[in-house]
Amino acid sequence: MRIGSAKESYAADTALFDSPTQRTWLVVFAVALCLFPFVADDYWLYLACLVAINVASTSGLNILTGYTGLVSLGQSAFMGLGAYTVAILQIRWGTPFLLNLLAGGFVAMLAGMLVGLPSLRVKGLYLAIATIAAGVIAHFLFSHFTSLTGGSSGLTVPPAKLFGLELDDSFKLYWVIVPITGLMLLGAANLFRTRIGRAFIAIRDRDISAEVLGISLLHYKLMSFAISSFYAGVAGGLFAYFFRAVTPESFPLVMSIFFLAAVIVGGMGSILGSVLGAAFMTLVPELLKLLVGWLPLEAFGGNAALILSPVRTIVFGLMIVLFLIFEPLGLAEMWRRVRRVFHLWPFRT
């Protein structure tokens, strides 16, 4: 039973994982991650990569929505920009894949700042609407800039090349996607150990006080949006290398809602929440696929494939509503409760 932990230096106090137990579990988890690709079949590897990409994107959105309190419905648009940038660079110039990812991030970041400049000056609500607009405009660009983007048929992306090896299946991509996601999570966690992250939270909680303390609201809101868009762009690039195809329809508004749901379900303002939320939201459609496959739909004249998409849409929305009403702090809070039970056992919480 662990009630408290004594630290002997300030640095130790602010460490990310501050107890021997946590560090041990971290090592165990890392080892498990390394062993996983050798024991899992293709389907689970595919899912793992997808979860990792979604975690990367969700952590970006969490920085903006969970920590800074600005709702964005444009995550899919920025991912699309990153994906297309990566696709175009890879197809036309065959530039190194890490460089492409960074470029994708930058393009998305620039677009984000463009969207953010007018809409962040007033209420946060306007950003939400502006991001919907950004999605519509992005879709317009993707479909009409045919010379660059291949129009409605989109682009086929050649596999990423790392040290001469072509990353053309889930197994190989796993070893690239998971570490990149890990780095992005670490970056996000680091942000909140410094003044930048604290400023974001201050803006969410009480922006007038934040101003009085010297935090220029527009500057920091833009920064939060820029970082979040950068993350989305990189995740979009990973998406392009993973699915090997990008079309204007790959990044619909419902995908933005998916990521917003992931942030809410996982727990707003929590790095662990980004991981849990993304994993949960990625696995739920798979679960639904299974369930729908079991149901005797033919008897009712239904078709499993047809109802899957609308049911998914309903579930995304339902997750948002249910979690906001009943568990606003998300899965991360549930996790914390379980941990408390273990810490304080045999005492009750």
């Binding site: 309190g69 007033v122 609407i129 519509v136 317009f140 049911v311 579930v315 009403i325 606003p328």
Partner: protein, 294 residues
């Protein structure tokens, strides 16, 4: 350049006609915002549900129009009350961001439900409006848009009058102004919330039926709501007058853009308008600039 004035007039009339419907839906939005301080991004989807319920009653169940329309509106009202009670009321003390996100979830649920029950394909509503084109001078106006506009005008006027003189209307305005004071005056504030959502849902339902009659219904109808959002931002989130003026203006701009530049550029024009208003007058033409008490 030879401007065909009658053509311009014709396009403008069509734009104003659509504008009337934007104004009507904008009114529903403003009502919800004024009474419950919730930014309802699902307003377009509520419009869509209204159209589909009418579709279910008239085409699905074969009810005559004079039954289907009131029936659909009643269901819309009940739906509005249900949403308010189950999704909005629990979020009362939370931040406005939370209730906003709930409406995002709601919009997703509604789109999914429509796609599930009726598929994503476009459908046609049964005809119930006269079909003879209306002639004004040398300009022709589509009869559906013409009658749709006047339905909108009639409904807006009715709602405004009712809320001016009816007790419930006064209660609504009082609650919009100051919730705590309204409570202490004996106004049943939760009931006012329900009323606002019920009426707004019904108004959106009417708009949905009309819009659906003009352009058909589909699960993507919610995009109408996007233009409505621009309308209310343009006019001011809590201003009824703003919704009216904004609706007509946006309708006009869209129609002119659609004809002279191209149909696919309509939405681009709307969003350019959005950016302009955010830069020049972020609180909208008639919106109140909230001075925060420190």
């Amino acid at each position: 350049m030879n401007i065909d004035w009658w053509l311009l007039f014709e396009i403008s009339l069509a734009g104003l006609g659509t504008g009337g419907l934007y104004a009507l839906t904008g009114l529903a939005f403003v009502m919800i915002y004024k009474a419950t301080r919730v930014v309802n991004i699902a307003i377009g989807e509520m419009l869509m549900i209204g159209a589909y319920i009418f579709f279910a009653f008239s085409a699905g169940m074969g009810l005559p129009i004079w039954l289907a329309i009131p029936g659909a509106l009643l269901v819309c009202g009940a739906f509005g009350a249900l949403v308010e009670r189950t999704m909005i009321r629990p979020m009362l003390g939370e931040s406005p961001i939370s209730s906003f996100m709930v409406t995002v979830g709601l919009s997703s649920i509604l789109v999914g439900v429509v796609e599930l029950v009726w598929t994503a394909d476009q459908q046609r509503l049964p005809e119930f409006l006269p079909t003879k084109p209306i002639e004004i001078g040398q300009a022709f106006v589509s009869p559906k848009i013409f009658y749709g506009f006047w339905i909108a005008v009639l409904l807006i006027t009715t709602v405004l009058l009712v809320f001016r003189f009816w007790r419930g209307g006064v209660a609504l305005r009082a609650t919009a102004s100051d919730q705590a004071a309204a409570y202490s005056m004996g106004i049943n504030v939760p009931r006012v919330f329900s009323l606002a959502w019920v009426v707004a849902a019904m108004i959106a339902g009417v708009a949905g039926i009309v819009v659906g009659s003009i352009g058909g219904i589909s699960s993507a109808m919610g995009i109408f709501g996007l233009s409505v959002l621009v309308v209310v931002i343009f006019g001011g989130l809590d201003s009824v007058l703003g919704a009216l003026v904004g609706g007509l203006f946006v309708g006009l701009v869209e129609a002119l853009t659609g004809f002279y530049i191209g149909g696919e550029y309509k939405i681009l024009a709307t969003f350019t308008l959005l950016v302009l208003i955010l830069v020049v007058r972020p609180y909208g033409l008639f919106g109140t600039h909230e001075i925060e008490r420190l």
